[in-house]
């Protein structure tokens, strides 16, 4: 059996005010799974994604990405270092002093070693396909969250990431945007090794996810059974 893409091993996490967010949670996200976490705001959906990305570290237990544990003391992770994770937080997570185009080009040039010209062609085609090509030369602060969110998707798509960590798509995107995203990125989502973990309670997410896991009171429920 292949290694799970993300494994939570007895994870306990408390919020800043010492409220338990997760308690002794053990859960595996299988490679190739397409999972929607159905969570209301404040239930810990974003915290779950941050744990997966290694941006938050549990008070007890450990989180393994691709078989290697995240650690606050070791400042790199082989899976992250090769650009295999697509990170689409609610604000888009773009670098403020780069244009949308440069944001999409950055991992292609820095991690994959593409030339500037090659990366520019790829980035422009993706931004254009997602409907923000005309704003490619603008910086993120000059535009609404919708465009930032689409640019973050283009950045992940350009790298053909193995794990998509996507926080509440319809918070910023219109339904029509999401349909376009699925038209453009649907093939990527369908690749056998692509794993999707999306947080959001929008039924439209069902079109690209196959499993729903409910997050409530720090516990995960799948198909009517508690799994943590």
């Amino acid at each position: 059996m292949s290694e799970p893409m993300v494994a939570f091993d007895d994870v306990t996490l408390y919020s800043a005010d010492s409220r338990p967010v997760f308690e002794a949670m053990t859960w595996n996200l299988a490679r190739g799974a397409r999972v929607r976490i159905d969570a209301e705001r404040g239930e810990g959906g974003t915290a779950l994604l941050r744990l997966c990305a290694g941006l938050a570290h549990p008070h007890r237990g450990r989180v393994l990405l691709d078989g290697v544990a995240h650690s606050p003391d070791r400042f790199d992770h082989p899976t992250l270092r090769r650009g295999a994770v697509g990170w689409i937080p609610q604000n888009g997570g773009l670098v403020a002093n780069l244009t949308l185009l440069e944001n999409v080009m950055l991992p292609l040039r820095f991690i994959s070693g593409w030339t500037r010209a090659e990366a520019e062609v790829k980035a422009l085609s993706l931004l254009g396909a997602l409907g923000v090509g005309d704003r490619a030369s603008q910086r993120p602060h000059a535009m609404p969250r919708r465009e930032r969110h689409l640019a973050a998707l283009a950045r992940a798509a350009a790298m053909r990431v193995e794990l998509w960590l996507w926080d509440r798509p319809l918070n910023d995107l219109e339904t029509v945007d999401l349909s376009r995203v699925l038209d453009v990125l649907g093939d990527l989502f369908e690749l056998p090794d692509t794993t999707i973990l999306v947080v959001g309670n929008e039924p439209l997410c069902a079109s690209f996810t196959s499993t729903v896991v409910v997050l409530e009171s720090g516990r995960l429920f799948e198909e009517g059974a508690t799994i943590s």
């Binding site: 941006l55 938050a56 007890r60 400042f75 992250l80 990170w87 403020a96 070693g113």
Partner: protein, 272 residues
């Protein structure tokens, strides 16, 4: 309950709570040293294909720190060179020869005042900007994003600023020295007649290999220390934008103190 951490751990957590001022200062020094070590390690881990991206960032840093600062540095250099030459001539004229006075001014400017003043100008213009930018990046979670998408924040955010800082400081110090010595002579000669031939001879005899080595060492030390300390100060903000002004102030003070200490150390090693 063990300690959990939130966000990309670029800098060591600060000593808080009941820690004394000395403990907090030592904690900061240790944290800067740790960041320096990681910068060095990251520099050796860079791949050739990453260099063009970093070269663009270095170019931007040099443009902001050196090119945009040229008028300010040149003006400061002319005024300082002229004032020092006039003061020395006014105070010591008649007691010692003109050649000695010229040599004294040259040594003062090239060995001490030039590097120190350029460093202070760089801290006030670029160091504060770096600290504020890093703090904003941290609060906007850009640092986190870089980390997750596979771009090492140290390689991307810090290394270009350090390399750009070294190049800029070296350029500005050399420019400052030249403008202060030549421009200073012009300003001083308007007020008091002064032999240019004697002055030039004194310059020649005063500036030797030790001065060049000291200038190079100071440029490297200041150019690396200022971005590093200022970036470190900015990256230590935790949750609120209200921390940014304090972080910038602390980074500025730490940088100025470090520059003075380094200057004294290098001068002792090179000239005593």
């Amino acid at each position: 309950m063990s300690q959990a951490s939130e966000g990309t751990p670029l800098v060591r957590p600060a000593a808080f709570g009941t820690a004394s001022g000395v403990e907090r200062s030592l904690s900061r020094v240790g944290s800067v040293a740790w960041l320096s070590w990681r910068c060095m390690r990251q520099a050796f881990a860079l791949r050739r294909t990453q260099l063009p991206v970093l070269a663009e960032l270095i170019r931007n840093q040099v443009r902001f720190t050196a090119l945009d600062a040229l008028p300010l540095v040149a003006l400061t250099a002319i005024l300082l060179g002229g004032v020092i030459l006039l003061q020395v001539l006014h105070t010591l004229s008649g007691l010692v020869s003109e050649a000695f006075l010229s040599r004294l001014v040259t040594l003062l400017v090239v060995r001490e005042l030039g590097p120190i003043l350029v460093a202070v100008l760089a801290i006030s213009r670029s160091g504060t900007a770096i600290a504020a930018e890093m703090a904003a990046s941290k609060l906007e979670r850009e640092v986190d994003t870089l980390y997750v998408v596979g771009i090492d924040p140290i390689a991307y955010l810090l290394l270009p600023r350090i390399v750009g800082g070294v190049i800029s400081l070296f350029t500005l110090i050399v420019l400052f020295d030249v403008v202060a010595l030549v421009g200073g002579f012009v300003v001083a000669s308007v007020v008091s007649p002064f032999s240019f031939r004697l002055y030039l001879g004194a310059l020649e005899s005063a500036v030797g290999p030790a001065e060049l080595v000291a200038t190079l060492l100071k440029a490297v030390a200041f150019g690396a220390a200022i971005p590093l300390i200022c970036a470190h100060g900015g990256l230590r903000v935790r949750t609120s934008p209200t921390e940014i002004p304090r972080a910038v102030t602390r980074a500025t003070v730490d940088s100025v103190i470090t520059v003075f200490l380094l200057s004294a150390l290098i001068s002792l090693v090179c000239h005593v």
